[in-house]
């Protein structure tokens, strides 16, 4: 049996971790099951991903597909056709724009990602506090997160000073944060929307010597960040999960479904975002993850 796995390329930290978990799982399962084969492809854009899927079907005769769509809209049609041909389809993280195509859906929850962070801000900031936001790469994911965050802040009296794109990138976030710091004499908190960006933002804040003035909330549960939360770092009070390990779950469940016929594993697994605090940080810390 062959399972195709198609995920975005490691162009930012979270995607990198995704790649890591996918590769680990594939390696482990290939050892575990003699007659199970995997085709793993990584893709820089939607067009390439469609090509990869075409290649899997045309040349590798896949029996099941685990796919994290680069974008929902363009991938919906091609995946639908694969599903219609009788191939098992597991969709990860980014839902398709038509319902009922996939057999299995394993995903994080972008809305809850934004809302969890937003709620924390509302609870821990006074009315009139000032917040800056670092957004990700312009995508619908980023839009969903930011909208949920803003919705959570609505009516709380917490003021969002500015939102610029840090592109889920440390260097870009560093630059944008530096400029925020020059621009605003008063900032009480930063929502970095991703731990890579949080690292960049913290670098800029430390440089400006304004550590005592504000704290930073990132997201996705990067090892270093979880460690800082665990150690009670004032700058990083909490983190919000969006586990890249979901791909491992998806692959495992799919393999199980393919190998043990008769036990259909269809359904939905939505991993809503949790708030990592000093108390629960330990359970989110994975020593050997590269992320």
């Amino acid at each position: 049996e062959t399972i195709g796995v198609s995920i975005p390329a490691a162009t930012h930290g979270w995607a990198g971790a995704l790649n890591f978990h996918a590769e680990q799982t594939v390696e482990r399962l290939e050892k575990q099951y003699e007659n199970l084969d995997f085709v793993l492809t990584t893709t820089p854009d939607s067009g390439t991903q469609i090509s990869d899927l075409e290649d899997m079907v045309a040349t590798r005769n896949i029996d099941a597909l685990v796919v994290l769509p680069f974008e929902s809209e363009p991938l919906t049609g091609p995946i639908q056709r694969i599903a219609e041909s009788g191939t098992w389809v597991t969709v990860v993280d980014r839902g398709l724009s038509q319902e009922g195509i996939e057999n299995l859906y394993v995903a994080g929850d972008n809305e809850s990602f934004g809302k969890t962070a937003g709620d924390y801000f509302v609870e821990n900031l006074d009315e009139g506090s000032k917040v800056v936001v670092l957004r990700g790469i312009p995508t619908s994911i980023d839009n969903e997160r930011v909208e949920a965050f803003q919705a959570a802040l609505d009516g709380s009296g917490v003021e969002v000073l500015a939102m610029e794109h840090g592109n889920w990138n440390r260097d870009d976030a560093f630059t944008v944060m530096q400029d925020y710091l020059s621009r605003y004499p008063e900032i009480d908190a930063v929502w970095a929307a991703d731990d890579d960006m949080a690292v960049g933002a913290i670098g800029a804040i430390e440089q400006a010597g304004r550590e005592d003035e504000m704290w930073v909330v990132g997201g996705a549960g990067m090892k270093e960040m979880v460690r800082r939360v665990q150690e009670g770092d004032d700058m990083v009070p909490v983190d919000v999960t969006y586990p890249p390990a979901m791909i491992a779950t998806a692959i495992e469940l799919t393999a199980l479904g393919v190998m043990s016929e008769g036990v259909p594993m269809s359904g939905e697994f939505i991993l809503s975002s949790e708030l990592i605090t000093q108390e629960n940080a330990e359970q989110y810390y994975y020593e050997d993850s590269p992320y």
Binding site: P44, S51, T59, R60, F70, E71, P74
Partner: protein, 333 residues
Amino acid sequence: MSTASTNGAAARGFKIDLTVLGPILALLALVLIGILLNPNFLSYANITNVLARSAFIGIIAVGMTFVITAGGLDLSVGSMAAFIAGLMILCMNLLIPGMGENLGVILIGVLVALAAGLVAGAINGLLVTRAGIEAFIVTLGTMGIYRSLVTWLADGGTLSLDYAMRELYRPVYYGGILGISWPIIVFAVVAILGEIVMRHTAFGRHCAAIGSNETVARYSTVAVLRVKTLTYVLLGLLVGVAVVMYVPRLGSASASTGLLWELEAIAAVIIGGTMLKGGFGRVWGTVVGVLILSLIGNILNLTDMVSPYLNGAIQGVIIILAVVLQRKGKASR
């Protein structure tokens, strides 16, 4: 004189052969590797897939061949494609409430795409020729502009074609005649026309002359500015054509549409034997270059031999090797 010159001619003939055979040999080598790696490589489905997906870059690269031959460069084609795709989808979606979901909407969409390509190409061309700015800078600038505009049109997300519309439009990518899908047919037609224009019309010859020596061309009464502008307009139009084939495939456009197409198109042109500094171009070479690039991706998907992290490295090595093959004759120079 006679002995010396015949020797000279023979030596010259031999040299040309290498540069002609080079890209073809590289392509054949890749095909062979593909066959060895996977029996399905030569299957109808796979061949169709590879050819059809080459069509976008291919159509654009044919236009790029003219621009480069005339001594220009266009870095904006990728984002131009994204922008035009966005515009086209937006227009079609706006028309549906009034016109319903029918072929008329598609037709208008196609016209919008072609017109937008024409205008975008003309803007690049005029900035290069009339304002006298280096092509690299002009198109780097418009690259940023179009990429931004599509992000803005899509509000940071994805612009999607109405679902029913998409089903209607789908056959333009997935359909075909006699088992040959439309994108392949369009690509072939564009390539053949391109080859004819390059070799058998005054326009093609003037492009080469301008790329070789602009002053000479001007002194020989070639309308230098007009020809140069036209190369960009032609490229823009072909970007429009590529978009017309592309939208039915994805049904959407976003900030990541067409990313790095410019590099791929330019690479295909150069792998095909056209000189980056201008003066000499060949369209068939570009077609071979495009196929080489597509095949590399396809072959990497045929096997698990390398970690996907290293795909880029393999691609890089093969691109360099493909060109080494054809430049062998000149290496000693």
